[in-house]
């Protein structure tokens, strides 16, 4: 029996039925069908291959144990994505903290009268594919430089595309704290990108 429809996507309902019936082969189908995307997510969060693989393994085992709790209100892929994010966040919390830039140093500065101390300039973004890849790399490195508390919110909201409510639940924060941190994280990222993107190419 195949779980792949004509689009090549997994038929989640059929797969779920087999998993719940205890079909051994269904577990392998799930790992092969979803593992690649889950690993990509864990790499984005953890930036380290070994940790990323461990997080995916933990997440999948925890998903297998918790299949009864999956109620079908979300897609199976969405549910697994949340579980791997949670496993990655737990790993980040256990990790030795890296030296961080103070966020305040990355926020815009103002004069006493409330005007910007360094008025913004437009960016000139490259159009050719190679330079765009370089910009992507610059953005990834800059996100890595953000303090964890801000980096994680930015990754969950802007990269993993979770909504405010889900982000708040995963991080154990209030929704208003998520909104404030997201705004500061974006401002800080903008500050880090600004010297490179002003006046390019």
């Amino acid at each position: 029996m195949s779980e792949r429809g004509s689009s090549g996507a997994l038929d989640e309902t059929a797969l779920l039925a087999r998993l719940r019936a205890g079909d051994e082969g269904a577990y392998e189908t799930l790992v092969r069908g979803f593992g690649g995307r889950l690993l990509a997510t864990a790499r984005r969060m953890l930036g380290n291959e070994e940790d990323a693989r461990d997080a995916v393994q933990e997440a999948l085992l925890s998903a297998f144990r918790g299949l009864d709790r999956f109620e079908g209100e979300a897609r199976l892929s969405t549910w697994l994505h949340r579980i791997v994010l949670n496993a990655a966040l737990m790993r980040l919390r256990q990790r030795r903290r890296r030296p961080e830039v103070a966020l305040e140093d990355l926020l815009p500065r103002f004069l006493e009268d409330g005007h910007a101390a360094d008025p913004a300039q437009e960016w000139k973004l490259p159009l050719d594919a190679l330079a765009r890849r370089e910009t992507q790399e610059l953005v990834r490195r800059s996100i890595e430089r953000l303090p964890d508390a801000y980096r994680n919110v930015l990754l969950l909201r802007d990269v993993e595309e979770l909504d405010t409510d889900e982000t708040a639940r995963l991080l154990g924060l209030s929704e208003s704290a998520v909104k404030t941190r997201l705004h500061r994280a974006r401002q800080a990222l903008r500050t880090l990108l600004d010297p490179q993107l002003r006046g390019q190419p």
Binding site: Y27, G35, L60, D113, I143, V159, L197
Partner: protein, 84 residues
């Protein structure tokens, strides 16, 4: 209507972009933008930052979806069989 400063404008920027500013605040915000080219440029580069963040990890169009490393598949399935 009291004037918004650049500092306040930047503070309210996310709320503005998410459509969460009450109408009167929104009017003050847009009034400031009409008079302040530097804040317009800040708004543009902030929006670019959000877009670049979204795209930072995106694979190029047509990229083959990543396979799961075989060791990882084996590790997960073995661990499950052992009751992990």
């Amino acid at each position: 209507m009291s004037r918004l400063t650049c500092r306040e404008l930047i503070e309210f920027l996310r709320d503005y972009l998410d459509g969460e500013l009450p109408p009167e605040e929104r009017e003050r915000f847009e009034h400031h933008l009409r008079l302040c080219p530097a804040c317009v440029r800040y708004l543009h580069t902030y929006q670019e930052t959000v877009r670049l963040g979204r795209e930072a990890f995106r694979e190029p169009e047509g990229a083959v979806p990543e396979e799961v490393p075989e060791e990882l598949v084996r590790a997960v399935l073995d661990s499950r069989r052992r009751g992990g």
